[in-house]
Structure formats: structure tokens, C-alpha cells
């Protein structure tokens, strides 16, 4: 049955993948354009089959704190929302980073600021990779560009979260959440037993046994010297993630004179731009960051010595472009093209911007 191909929305794929991965609990609050996640979970009623809890909380804030509690017990706990709801969750995310708790947060972005629009956007890039909540922390961030990756990244996000004891985010948008494509859902896995969780997560607060000290999960440490040590431990962990977990995709980069740099839905649009450009004899490639943190800094730097220029394409006013410029470090011009407030750029719009900004 693992070979079955389905046609579904990205949001639905996330819900199905979560059940199949053996997630223990989903806690959320509806908001467009991601409500199909909780709707699909409610329809599938996994509490009757795998035992997974699905709960509509009274608010986004309570949902993220339910995730905190589930994660503290070593459970696979997740939540999802869209931009305004994700803003509400920032305190909880910072607390989880501080308490070193693994969990999955899904952000199906819409146009802001404020309540904004319900149409697709990528304007939460800064919020996601530069902090969002308070304190020196990092969020492992995956950016799917297809319904297939929406399904695949649920398991990957949990794997990375538990490997590093750190929250992960799937940062996507209304295009990928709402579109339907073919998808091969991941294989079914058993939910872990309590014994397995005790073995895999010796830090989990599942009840103290006689042979060990109590486990304490907290982000609070009033002794500054100890808190500095904690921070140093976090930073060492972040450097390890940066050294080992960078993921990206290169499309027609080998002979490219110009690189488009884009993630998620914008990267899909750029794939078509590449074809349009090459028909006109302009050699364009695409570098697609799959992890937004850790960011593919090294590979972008190396392309800085090979191509004539780069254009980042984002559904925002220019956010990732700052990280691309830092990576390229002045070797070549790096420009940005974006549409705002829920408007999605078109492939020929991207091509026109490339020609204009790179003076082709």
C-alpha cells in the first residue's frame, strides 16, 4: 500500500503524513490558508486507529503550550497555523528552544503585516530564521516546494528536531498548501511505546524512576554563569546543525551565467522562468535552499565566483536576499524581485525582472 499515489492538497498531505509517521499529538487553531490540516486530521480521526490526539485548542497560544507539554514528555507533538497565528506562538517557540524541546511547527504563510490577506506570501522568512521570539536561538527550517515535499518533510522535521532536541518548522505558503498534486504518502510507522520513548529520550518527563534524578524541563536559569553555559551549549549545537544539515537543490546551474535563488512556491515559478530564459538564449539556473536555517551559505559563496549575477525571487519585499548577499560577500551583484501582500509572481514577470536588474 505504500506505493499508492494520491491527488491532494499540500495541507492534506501534511495531515496524512503526520498520522503515518506516528505523531502523538496535533494541537491547533483554524486559520486560512491552512485549515485543511486540522480538518483532514479531524476527518481521519486517528485517535480511533493510531491513538494520535487531535485537539482544537481555544487559541494559538494554548496550542503551542500543549505542544511544549507533549514534547517535554518525549512525544511527537505538532501544531500548524498561518502567519498571524504563528506570531502568537513565538513566545512558546522561544521557550521550547530554551528548554531544548523537539517539536514541529508548520507555517502556511499568508500576506501580512497584521491580519493582512489570506493569499500566499513568504514574508515570515525573517521571523522564522532570525529569531521571531526572544533570545539567541535558531529554528531548524524546511521549505517544501511541492505537495510531495509537504508529506516527506513532516518525518524529516521530526527526525531533525529529535536529533538535536530543537524545534523544527516547515515554512510554506498558501500556494503549496492549497494546490493539489500527485503525492506518494510515506509508509506507516507504529507510534512509539512509552518504553521506547524512555529509551530514546532519557530527558523526557515521563515519571521519575528510582535509579535516576528527576528530569527537569525548563528554560529558566537565574544564575547567569549557568545561563551562559546553557547558551554556549545551544550555540555549539547550532554550529553542528550548520555543519551537517544544509540541504539545497541545484537546477541547471552547471552552465548558468545567472542564478535565480528562491525557495518554496517561488522556486516552482522560477523553474518555468529557466525554460523561458533558455529559449531566449539566456543561461539561467536555480539554486533552491531547502533548509532556510541552516542556510546554504557555502554553495552560494562558491557560485559567487562562477556566475555573473544572482536574483532572489521571494513573495516578500526582500528578506532572503540579505542572506544571499552575506554569502556572496560582494563578489557579484545580487538583486531581489518580489510581489507583496498575497500577489504571486509569474514566470514571465521573473524573467522581465532578471533582464532589467542584470541589464541583460
Amino acid at each position: 500500500m505504500s506505493e499508492e499515489i494520491a491527488l491532494m492538497k499540500g495541507n492534506e498531505a501534511i495531515a496524512h503524513a503526520a498520522i503515518r509517521y506516528g505523531v502523538d499529538g496535533y494541537f491547533g487553531y483554524p486559520i486560512t490558508p491552512q485549515s485543511e490540516i486540522i480538518e483532514t486530521l479531524m476527518e481521519e480521526a486517528p485517535w480511533k486507529t493510531t491513538g494520535m490526539v487531535v485537539l482544537q485548542a481555544e487559541s494559538e497560544v494554548s496550542a503551542i503550550n500543549m505542544v511544549y507539554a507533549g514534547a517535554a514528555c518525549g512525544k511527537y507533538a505538532m501544531t500548524s497555523s498561518s502567519s498571524p497565528g504563528i506570531s502568537l506562538k513565538q513566545e512558546g517557540i522561544s521557550y521550547m528552544a530554551g528548554a531544548e524541546l523537539p517539536a514541529l511547527i508548520v507555517n502556511v504563510q499568508r500576506g501580512g503585516p497584521g491580519l493582512g490577506t489570506i493569499q500566499p506570501s513568504q514574508a515570515d522568512y525573517f521571523q522564522t530564521v532570525k529569531g521571531g521570539g526572544h533570545g539567541d536561538y535558531k529554528l531548524i527550517t524546511l521549505a517544501p516546494n511541492s505537495v510531495q515535499e509537504m508529506a516527506d518533510f513532516v518525518g524529516l522535521a521530526f527526525d531533525l528536531a529529535f536529533k538535536y532536541r530543537n524545534p523544527s518548522m516547515i515554512l510554506t505558503d498558501g500556494v503549496i498548501g492549497q494546490m493539489m498534486e500527485k503525492v506518494k504518502l510515506p509508509a506507516w510507522r507504529q507510534r512509539r511505546t512509552e518504553q521506547e520513548i524512555r529509551e530514546q529520550c532519557p530527558w523526557a518527563t515521563l515519571g521519575k524512576t528510582a535509579d535516576r534524578k528527576p528530569n527537569i524541563i525548563t528554560s529558566l536559569e537565574l544564575d547567569s554563569a549557568a545561563m551562559e553555559k546553557n547558551n554556549e551549549r545551544f550555540q555549539a549545537k547550532y554550529r553542528e546543525v550548520e555543519a551537517t544539515e544544509v540541504r539545497y537543490e541545484e537546477v541547471k546551474c552547471d552552465d548558468a551565467d545567472y542564478l535565480l535563488v528562491a525557495f518554496g512556491s517561488a522556486a516552482r515559478i522560477c523553474m518555468k522562468t529557466i525554460d523561458l530564459a533558455r529559449k531566449e538564449g539566456i543561461k539561467v539556473g536555480l539554486l533552491r535552499p531547502i533548509t532556510l536555517w541552516p542556510f546554504p551559505t557555502k554553495v552560494l559563496h562558491s557560485y559567487g565566483g562562477k556566475v555573473k549575477g544572482m536574483l532572489t525571487v521571494e513573495l516578500n519585499a526582500g528578506q532572503m536576499v540579505e542572506d544571499v548577499r552575506l554569502a556572496v560577500n560582494g563578489q557579484i551583484p545580487v538583486s531581489h524581485y518580489g510581489r507583496l501582500g498575497g500577489i504571486v509572481p509569474t514566470p514571465d514577470g521573473v524573467l522581465a525582472a532578471l533582464k532589467e536588474k542584470m541589464s541583460i
Binding site: V175, M179, P345
Partner: protein
């Protein structure tokens, strides 16, 4: 084969579900498909629209600016999408919903009186299937047998008794569609 199609009309005309059936049909032929709805406030009136792409190759962008076929089921949809049909492409409209003439001369224009026919058939719910029949007649991108399989896959089982009625509507649409203008 690559077909980039937009279907646009009032919310409630079955625009999204027609697109879904088309996408399922393409999938039954083991083609690549994508379905991307305008999911915003348009859904509740104005121009609900969906982009369906069917292709032999993996689909790059689910969002495109120009279409091989535009199906427009009300006046605002014609105004929005007339300019976005590829030169030599096709525009299909329902005679009931469109009052203004198509101005472009470089596209093929087809009329299908689906609303009138569905009223005659005493079942306005098959309106979108009549339109789908018209589309398949002028651009046979998927086989009818696969459309029926697609319908079966996209309809909940409790509605499977309606399959023959839908097939009849598709066949009627194939008869009804008329070419009004040849692309210059």
C-alpha cells in the same frame, strides 16, 4: 503534451470541482497534474477560478500567466482572462453568462449554451459537466473513459449513482459546443 487551463466563473458554478475532475482524469492517464485554486474571497462570488495543468513532463510552475484554454462562465471572468489566452489558444464561454463580445481575433472562440441545456435537462448541477464535455470535444486532452474514472475517484462513494447522469451531460456538452471564431 502540456495543457495549461483556467476555469473561471461565479462561486457555486462548480468551477473548482470541474478542475478537480479534470486533474483526476489526467492522473488516470499517468500524466503529471496540478490544480491551484484562487482560494481567496473570490470563492464567495465574483471570479472563482482554478488553474489546471496536465503534462507529460513534471510541472514546473503551478502558477502561469498565459493559458492554452480559458473557460469563462461569467462576464468578470471574460474580462479577467481574455488577454491571458495564448495566441492561437482557445476561449470557451457559456452563452448564458457572457453578454459582451470577445475582442481578440488571434484566438479560437467557442460557445456552449450549458446553462440553458442544464435547465432543459432539469438539473442545473450538471452545468459544469456539460462545459467539461465541450472542453474535451475541442481539446481531447484526456480520454472519456479516464474522465469517468476521474469522476469516480473525485466523488464520494455515496454519489456514485450519479455517474451515468454526469456522463450523459459530458456527452451532451460534446454535441453542443460550437466554434464561433477561428484564430487569425
Amino acid at each position: 503534451m502540456l495543457q495549461e487551463i483556467v476555469i473561471s466563473g461565479f462561486g457555486g458554478q462548480g468551477v473548482l470541482s470541474m478542475g478537480k475532475i479534470l486533474a483526476y482524469s489526467g492522473m488516470m492517464e499517468e500524466k503529471e497534474v496540478s490544480w491551484f485554486p484562487a482560494y481567496g474571497p473570490e470563492q464567495r462570488g465574483g471570479t472563482a477560478n482554478v488553474t489546471v495543468i496536465i503534462s507529460d513532463e513534471p510541472i514546473s510552475s503551478p502558477v502561469v500567466n498565459q493559458f492554452d484554454v480559458a473557460i469563462v462562465l461569467n462576464q468578470p471572468s471574460l474580462e479577467k482572462f481574455e488577454d491571458r489566452v495564448k495566441p492561437g489558444g482557445a476561449l470557451i464561454y457559456d452563452g448564458y453568462g457572457i453578454h459582451k463580445k470577445v475582442e481578440r481575433k488571434d484566438i479560437n472562440v467557442y460557445r456552449i449554451n450549458a446553462m440553458d441545456e442544464s435547465i432543459k435537462m432539469d438539473n442545473t448541477r450538471v452545468f459544469n459537466m456539460i462545459i467539461l464535455g465541450g472542453l474535451l470535444k475541442i481539446s481531447p486532452m484526456v480520454e472519456l473513459v479516464n474522465v469517468m474514472k476521474g469522476l469516480q475517484a473525485s466523488l464520494p462513494e455515496r454519489h456514485h449513482k450519479l455517474l451515468p447522469m454526469n456522463e450523459a451531460a459530458i456527452l451532451r456538452g460534446m454535441e453542443l459546443v460550437e466554434q464561433e471564431q477561428q484564430a487569425e
